[in-house]
């Protein structure tokens, strides 16, 4: 990989982040509602008290000055204090991001574990009953709304059968000291098997909800590219070499067929890392998306702005990683 490529990508980040910041700032500013009023709520506060609070939060400045101040502070890593949580925004985000990351990773693992074998199988047994079942199932998976599937899973497995917890990441009795913030990982590092199992128990339903929709999409991508690759001359030549079926499929076909799958999976990962508002809300998952939504409701400007910025950085970074991964699979591409 050329250094120039990395620099180029980093430079691309500048306009993206500036643009995202500006758009978010404008949207927040243009949205009706006053954070001061919301914070003071029903408390009877004098106009003077409200005014002093407004000044304290920097809301007395005109909008353009507020934006410049935000950008200047953000450049030094200072995202301000959350109005609602009354502590640094960075701290709030750092607390919530691992939950979203954990959910994303498990969802993606479920999606890949389902989609790649099924996609390959459907392509190899093209036109068979199995292929048709897989195609119909993936169509259902793609078209099923996440919130509906989530609610159905909760109703069936949590409420009706009582096998699964309704919401949350882990039982309160199982809190572990924080290392990475990802409970599955932290509990493993600290050898807390019971906590690990409890966290796994909690993550299954939200991860399945997200994972199934992605698996459906990825399966279709894998199947289509696998079908195309299987018709290539190099597969015929590899077959003429007397290679076994497994080797032919796994080594010669899959490595080429996975290129589009990886691209789509990376895009989806970036999207998921931004947090899935609906799934996080349905399952009471304390992730990044939910804290941003809460921030929007409480007009917590600094939190929303920083949160969206973090999502943008993650999205661009994941795409960068996807490009790097792409070169590993496809030696013809040089970055």
């Amino acid at each position: 990989m050329r250094l120039g490529f990395v620099v180029e990508r980093l430079l691309q980040l500048v306009p993206v982040l500036l643009g995202v910041s500006l758009v978010v700032f404008l949207m927040i500013t243009l949205t009706p509602g006053d954070p001061v009023e919301i914070m003071l709520g029903n408390e009877r506060a004098t106009p003077e008290q409200a005014e002093s609070l407004r000044r304290e939060m920097g809301l007395d400045l005109p909008p353009h000055e507020r934006f410049v101040k935000f950008v200047r502070n953000a450049l030094t890593g200072n995202f301000g204090r959350s109005f609602f949580h009354r502590r640094p925004v960075a701290e709030v985000i750092a607390e919530r991001l691992p939950a979203t990351m954990e959910l994303t990773i498990v969802s993606m693992l479920i999606a890949l574990a389902l989609s790649i074998p099924l996609g390959v199988l459907a392509a190899v047994k093209r036109g068979s009953i199995l292929d048709r079942i897989a195609t119909v199932a993936s169509l259902i998976g793609v078209s099923m709304p996440g919130f509906w599937l989530g609610i159905m899973l909760i109703l069936l497995f949590a409420v009706h059968l009582g096998w699964m917890p309704v919401s949350g990441r882990v039982d309160f009795s199982h809190e572990v000291p924080r290392i990475t913030g990802m409970i599955l990982l932290d509990s493993l590092i600290q050898g807390r098997v019971d906590t690990f199992l409890d966290a796994l128990h909690h993550i299954i339903m939200p991860a399945v909800t997200l994972g199934l929709a992605m698996a459906a999409l990825l399966m279709r991508v894998t199947r289509a590219s696998m079908i195309e690759v299987l018709q290539q001359d190099y597969i015929l030549f590899a077959e003429a070499k007397g290679l076994g079926r497994a080797r032919l499929l796994m080594r010669h076909a899959l490595k080429n067929a996975l290129i589009p799958t990886v691209t789509v999976a990376a895009l989806e990962t970036g999207y998921l890392l931004g947090g899935n508002t609906i799934v996080e809300t349905v399952f009471g998952w304390p992730g990044l998306a939910r804290v941003i939504v809460e921030g929007i409701f409480s007009r917590d400007y600094p939190l929303v702005q920083a949160g969206v910025l973090v999502i943008a950085v993650i999205y661009v970074s994941v795409n960068f990683l996807a490009d790097v991964l792409y070169t590993l699979l496809n030696p013809r591409v040089k970055l």
Partner: protein
């Protein structure tokens, strides 16, 4: 060595081969009753236009006809075994080990995502027992230098796109010959190459043939290549063999009007100014063929007798032709 040379057992013997394809317009008999013998040590040329069934015939030998095509009948005997009766597993041990095949375009035939080294090593590892006398790496290196790849140890780690067209063709040949097969089927080995590189690759192929004691089937649409490199020629047309015999004698005195047409349509530098005579018309659609000579519609000397199924006639001297009046003789 020719077919006339006393009773030599053929290495490969194809009889009544039928390979069919189910298509939208109907059943296509891409190979329809083909008989071909390939004798040990010879270099036989198989010529014909696209769609003549030459490639499908030899893909059938390796059991590589892909759906929607299949082998509908016939027998393929190789080195004393009936290949059509082998299980998939047994057939795999023949592919690459005893019969190897190369294809037209090395760029598309080599896997773009795997290094050249791994593509040659895997065929060696597939067919040599784990406790083989020599490590696969050494054999791969030797094979690559044999086909004229400089610095093979470095080149092993490179990908196909890092090689020139001629080099890629050499690599494909190295892979095909890695296990020292008895028979090499080279399907249009030079059609994708520049003319200057063509001769290099074919000369290499012939040198290797002698060195490794291999039998070669050269599938091509270029009769000129056959004239230069093959001792015997098999001419195919519309899914059938229409003529075969020693190259020299077939080219000097073609018995089938199609062969005459092929020879007449080769541009020759030595006869500048002479008009090229293309064969009029096109290869017939291979769907719902009538029981008649398949070349009838394009044949300049067709007559009433051509409306029946034409058998192969033995012309002596190892020559055969599928024509009612071979060589224009009545």
């Amino acid at each position: 060595m020719t077919a006339s040379a006393a009773p030599v057992e053929p290495l490969l013997s194809i009889r009544d081969l039928e390979a069919h394809f189910q298509t939208q317009v109907g059943l296509v008999k891409a190979v329809d009753g083909v008989d071909i013998d390939i004798f040990p040590g010879e270099c036989a040329g198989v010529v014909g236009e696209s769609g003549s069934g030459k490639s499908v015939t030899f893909l059938s030998v390796l059991g590589l006809v892909r759906p929607p095509g299949w082998i509908a009948g016939g027998s393929i005997r190789f080195d004393g075994r009936e290949l059509t009766a082998l299980t998939r597993r047994e057939l795999r041990r023949v592919r690459g080990k005893e019969i190897a095949m190369t294809f037209q375009d090395a760029l598309t035939s080599l896997n773009p995502a795997l290094t050249v080294g791994s593509q040659i090593l895997e065929v060696l590892r597939e067919h040599t027992p784990a406790d083989g006398a020599r490590p696969a790496e050494a054999q791969a290196l030797e094979m690559l230098s044999l086909v004229g790849i400089p610095e093979p140890a470095i080149r092993m780690r490179q990908y196909p796109h890092e090689f020139s067209g001629g080099m890629r063709q050499r690599i494909m040949i190295a892979i095909a010959l890695a296990c020292r097969p008895k028979l090499l089927i080279a399907d249009e080995p030079t059609s994708a190459l520049d003319v200057t590189i063509q001769a290099q690759v074919l000369d290499l192929l012939m040198a290797l043939r002698h060195r490794l004691g291999m039998t070669v089937v050269l599938i091509t649409h270029d009769l000129g290549l056959v004239a230069e490199y093959c001792t015997r020629v098999i001419v195919m047309y519309a899914g059938q063999v229409v003529e075969q015999g020693p190259t020299r004698s077939v080219i000097d005195d073609p018995a089938h009007p199609y062969t005459r047409g092929l020879i007449g349509s080769i541009p020759r530098l030595s006869r500048l100014g002479e008009k090229i005579r293309p064969i009029e018309g096109q290869v017939p659609e291979l769907v719902r063929l009538a029981d008649e000579c398949r070349f009838r519609a394009r044949c300049p000397v067709a007559e009433a007798r051509c409306g029946a199924r034409i058998p192969m006639s033995d012309l002596g001297g190892g020559r055969e032709a599928r024509c009612v009046r071979p060589g224009g003789r009545r």
